[in-house]
Amino acid sequence: MTSHVETTLALKAEAQELHFYYGGTVQALKGISLGLADRRATALIGPSGCGKTTYLRCLNRMHDLYPGNRYEGAVLLYPDRLNIVDQTVDPIEIRMRVGMVFQKPNPFPKSIYENVAYGLRIRGTTKRSELDGAVEQALRNAALWTEVKDRLHDLAFNLSGGQQQRLCIARALATGPEMLLFDEPTSALDPTATARIEELVTELKQKVTIVIVTHNMQQAARVSDYTAFMYEGRLVEFDRTEKIFTNPSNKLTEEYVTGRFG
């Protein structure tokens, strides 16, 4: 039940007694209190249906897209202590600050360039030179630039699955988000593409706060600094990743990370 990160570390976001209900009745999160360290990667692990994706999608108010969903409690976004799940806060503002990469690569059926530029276009950027620069920078940050620089105007669908996922990362990075949410980003990819994404996440966490949901324990161990183990809508244990994987304090956590259940 502990949610403390070492006091020396700044927090980027912090859930305080967060409850979440799907369709107004099904309670998927039961009082989550969890701090996310600034410019660190936090992994969310747990068996299917434990609420980790639900928690992730609270962080950019994705649940607002579907009727009847309800939040209780608070998720503070630092440094301005904006309550993400407050209904008076515009979800569009949240999503402009918190980017997301989905489970299955979901590029738009447009060119590679337009995919990356879209976030800037909806913010009103029209100057070609500005867009060009931002697109290149985002693609470089997503380790995709060298592979696509000669075919920026090809359809994004012609890329491989792994490239498409890195394109989606570039698309999210282009607008300079403060926090980036990854929802099982490699579950649809082969091992090589997975390795490249993991490498990328490890690099990105120096610049941006990362929250990653994963079913792959090794992945959590490889890329994250902190790990939260969730079970049935509750946070069971939260600690430094090495601690969770080598010496967890909770019996359930130990059983899960050693593969005895889940």
């Binding site: 897209l65 569009i92 997301m100 989905f102 059926p109 976030g119 909806i122 669908f157």
Partner: protein
């Protein structure tokens, strides 16, 4: 020993084989029934087309396309009819397409998912099934009598637009629904508003389906006769509507909107109801041309669908 075993086996497996044979027989029986049904439908269609071609083909000529109707069958043509059809279709599309698109986008993307929306959805489906003559009566009361638009191109276009509006809405909603929710989520996750998501993603990606639905709806409207007779189509028009351009400022003229109109099926109906055999031939020839127009529209719909399918596959 061998013999006994073989006999044993055959007596054992016989019922099994019989059951398999019986099941396969029923399988084949169904396939044959289906084939028969298809052949009957196809033969009827071919017979109709053949009859039409046989009767009318000899009459289709340049003269036929460029002449006004006449009381002499050999001099009669369909100039006012096909131009009328083209203009009415233009007006129908102009009215039904933006209305249908906007209504479908609203219902699919904006409307709250509750019983009111369900009720509206059911009733749009019902409206698509209302007999076209009822639309004609409604148009006669509303457009001709109340709004005093007269028995004009404008009335005809708006009548057919009302008729196909439910179809356009249904087809557009289907197309919009085919856009995967992941694409919408991708746009929203970048901070897009609903309008930006609709304008930049949902509508462009469903354009193939939307256009197909619109063209198929229009190709239904092309053959409509009853509602146009109701609102007062003339069956004998020996002049063209006013030109849409004028010599004086502002160089466009909307005079033609209020001219009396006729369309292909009305012309055909008129010829068929005459006693002279020669006029029936004219009707068949006009039918051929109307059929070609419809088939061309359907072909265009297929081409558009194929083009968009190549570009976008989920």
């Amino acid at each position: 020993m061998y013999l006994k075993n073989a006999i044993d086996r055959s007596t054992e497996s016989d019922p099994l084989r019989r059951r398999i044979t019986a099941r396969k027989f029923r399988d084949r029986l169904f396939a044959l029934t289906g084939l028969g049904a298809m052949v009957v439908a196809l033969l009827v269609l071919l017979a109709l087309l053949g009859q039409l071609a046989f009767d009318g083909m000899g009459r289709v000529s340049w003269q036929f396309l460029t002449s006004y109707p006449s009381r002499f069958p050999a001099q009669a043509g369909i100039l006012s009819a096909w131009i009328g059809t083209a203009l009415v279709m233009f007006l129908t599309a102009l009215a039904a397409v933006p209305l249908g698109l906007a209504a479908a986008v609203y219902l699919e993307e904006y409307a709250a998912k509750n019983w009111v929306t369900d009720l509206i959805e059911i009733n749009i489906a019902n409206l698509a099934g209302v007999p076209s003559i009822v639309y004609g009566l409604m148009a006669l009361g509303l457009l001709v009598s109340e709004l005093r638009l007269g028995q004009s191109f404008l009335t005809a276009g708006l009548t057919l637009a009302m008729l196909i509006l439910p179809m356009v809405i249904i087809a557009t909603r289907e197309a919009i629904r085919a856009v995967p929710p992941q694409i919408r989520e991708a746009a929203y996750a970048l901070g897009a508003t609903k309008w930006q998501t609709v304008r930049d993603h949902v509508v462009p990606y469903s354009m193939g389906g939307i256009l197909t639905g619109m063209i198929l709806s229009l190709s239904r409207a092309v053959g409509e006769t009853a509602p146009l007779i109701t609102v007062g189509a003339l069956s004998f028009i020996a002049f063209l509507p006013h030109p849409p351009f004028s010599h004086e400022f502002p160089f466009v003229s909307i005079q033609w909107l209020f001219d009396p109109f006729t369309v292909m099926p009305i012309q055909m109906f008129n010829w068929v109801s005459r006693p002279q055999e020669e006029f029936h031939v004219n009707a068949a020839a006009a039918g051929m041309i109307l059929l070609v127009m419809t088939l061309a529209m359907n072909a265009l719909a297929i081409a558009i669908r194929a083009r968009f399918r190549r570009r976008i596959h989920w």
